[in-house]
């Protein structure tokens, strides 16, 4: 009898394993739930065998098992669990499995980096997250926490906070190294319907693709770092925007037109920062962004934006700023393709000569079909040109063109290794070559 029992157990355990990976947490959880279900059924059978009176007395226990139950029983809601691609499970199941508000969900991202370059002086305008440092070595990346919560069927909030290692974020004189906390994004949004959603907060400015697609979780993006034109700590485009956005989407005959229009404080006096404490002048920045995702070419996104502000930077004369940008993206992995262009025009208020700076990048990658599809080689070319007449950009934005070649290896569904080689050719300055590595993950 014991042998038969053992055989049964082997068959039972082996069956699901033949269809899913043994290490899959969802499968393990499913097995646990099946065991719980068996327990519940056994109890139920025992109660029924003892008599109807006992069964009715223990009705709540029976309802907790997923045995055939009335449609409004809470069993299904209780059985739902939470993972990365799921909603928060209701803490208490109402009569109609009603959602519970607020429904806070927290997710995290982090990364650890390594860089080694031939640079022996200051990185001269490259953003800190580009990892171009005068010394080789390991560097703690950003520790990022995301908070999302539905406050009602129509109101949702989202926040993104980071802790970033900096050489001067600690205490003492001179400041010791430490971690710099930052509220990167905090957004509250009211959804009237799919066509109109109104939000307020601190955003990643929706004037190009990368800035709204990848944010601070390095794991999500294919490469180690962002393109320099949209780099955190960089100045070419205003990465952050504090104000209000109206956005929505419409089918538009299969084109799937998405739009966003916004008004906010614009850049701060340090132009790499947004106006968190208020506008530095009485001219609000505004933006308009639109893109399409045609039904007929699933994966394609085409779009463009305009942005207008008046700048009062610390180190240059006041100027009016116009930004025009465009992007084309193939949002798949065989291949992946992202290309963006932006032109930033500065017209000094004093009437001095206007200037236009341009930047673009083209990135392509391909998820290899072999080795469990864990490898993804990639290449990116990027270019930034700042004319010497641009008094606002010339000291804070580097002029260069660069190539990046690398490979991403997905260790698991939620963690990756990335290795890349980069070569920067700079105007009037020595070229930079370097090797970079990163492990990034979500949790």
């Amino acid at each position: 009898m014991r042998r038969i029992t053992l055989l049964c157990v082997v068959i039972a355990i082996g069956a699901p394993r033949s269809r899913a990976q043994a290490a899959d947490p969802a499968t393990k959880e499913l097995i646990e739930k099946l065991l719980a279900r068996i327990d519940g059924l056994e109890k139920r059978v025992a109660e029924l065998e003892k008599g109807g009176a006992t069964a009715s007395a223990n009705a709540p226990q029976a309802a907790a098992s997923p045995a055939p139950a009335p449609a409004k029983a809470p069993s299904a809601a209780l059985a739902m669990h939470q993972s990365h691609d799921q909603a928060p499970a209701p803490q208490t199941a109402g009569p109609e499995s009603a959602p519970v508000y607020p429904s806070l969900k927290i997710a995290g991202f982090s990364d650890l980096d390594f860089s080694a370059t031939n640079l022996h002086t200051s990185s001269a305008g490259f953003g800190a997250q580009t990892l171009i440092e005068p010394h080789s070595g390991f560097e703690e990346g950003q520790f990022t926490l995301h908070f999302s919560s539905a406050l009602s069927p129509r109101v949702t909030m989202f926040a993104e906070t980071t802790l970033t290692a900096r050489s001067d974020a600690g205490t003492g004189t001179p400041p010791a190294p430490g971690f710099n906390p930052e509220v990167e994004r905090v957004i509250i949004r009211y959804d009237l319907n799919d066509y109109f959603k109104l939000s307020f907060g601190r955003y990643h400015t929706p004037i190009n693709y990368w800035n709204t697609a990848f944010h601070h979780g390095q794991w999500l993006q294919t490469t180690i770092s962002r393109p320099e034109m949209t780099q955190f700590g960089g100045s070419f485009i205003p990465v952050h925007f504090i104000g209000s956005l109206a956005e929505g989407a419409a089918p538009a005959g299969g084109l799937n037109l998405n739009y966003a229009v916004g008004m906010g404080n614009g850049r701060g006096q340090v132009i790499g920062r947004g106006g968190d404490f208020g506008d530095i002048n009485n001219n609000r920045a505004w933006l308009a962004n639109a893109f399409i995702k045609p039904d007929g070419l699933y994966g394609l996104q085409l779009g463009g934006s305009v942005y207008r502000d008046e700048l009062n930077p610390l180190t240059a004369p006041a100027a009016r700023e116009w930004i025009e940008s465009a992007h084309v993206v193939w949002q798949k992995e065989t291949p992946e393709f992202i290309a963006e262009f932006a032109n930033v025009g500065h017209q000094p208020v004093s009437g001095a000569t206007a200037s236009n700076s341009q930047a673009f990048y083209v990135q392509t990658a391909y998820r290899l079909p072999w080795l469990e599809k864990q490898w993804k080689p990639y290449y990116r070319f990027e270019y930034i040109h700042v004319p010497k007449s641009d008094a606002i950009f010339r000291s804070v934005v580097p002029t260069f063109h660069a190539s990046t070649v690398g490979v991403r290896y997905d260790i698991t569904t939620f963690a990756a290794f990335k290795f890349e080689y980069r070569s920067y050719v700079r105007r009037d300055l020595p070229s930079i070559h370097g090797f970079f590595g990163q492990t990034s993950f979500t949790f």
């Binding site: 049964c8 039972a12 990365h84 691609d85 949702t156 319907n193 697609a213």
Partner: protein, 163 residues
């Protein structure tokens, strides 16, 4: 046989039955259509395949201004999930998970789809949640739910896209 031994034996038998039933189900259900089900009060009877994709991608979040869409998705391993990932999402399991992490990360959705573990559970939740939509084996659609046409076709019809 002791009482403990009997309980263990019964549990083993039940586990074996569940395992064998799973094998049998995966065998017999091979190729069966997958039905998209909603509550009868959802004011939609037919979706184009592109509209269905927008719905499951989370790009369409409202049936009407007063009725929000709640997506219910089978747990990994279910054949219906594999069909939906292959036909609607055109994604691997890893890409699907990454897609929804990114969707929430971009603040485009407060959460991803809710996970259900069986067709019965999906049907139960669709019945109880206004605006919920789920996919179930077309042979297991319970009474009381509305099956949506896709491109004007019901499951079992020639040309139905979800199988």
């Amino acid at each position: 046989m002791s009482k403990r031994g009997g309980s263990f034996s019964r549990r083993a038998m039940l586990l074996a039955a569940l395992g064998l039933a799973g094998i049998a189900a995966s065998g017999t259900a091979q190729g069966a259509d997958v039905a998209i089900v909603v509550r009868p009060d959802v004011p939609v009877d037919n979706l184009t395949f592109a509209e269905l994709r927008r719905l499951f991608l989370g790009d369409r979040q409202f049936w009407t201004s007063n009725l929000r869409v709640t997506l219910l998705v089978r747990a990994p391993g279910a054949r219906e999930r594999e069909v939906v990932l292959k036909t609607i999402y055109q994604m691997s399991e890893a890409q699907f998970r990454q897609y929804w992490i990114a969707k929430v990360f971009r603040a485009e959705a407060a959460s991803g789809p809710r996970i259900v573990y069986s067709s019965e559970m999906a049907a139960e939740l669709v019945s109880g949640m206004p605006g919920a939509v789920a996919f179930v084996d077309a042979d297991l659609v319970p009474k009381g739910l509305k099956v949506l046409k896709i491109n004007g076709l019901l499951p079992g019809t020639k040309g139905y896209p979800l199988h």
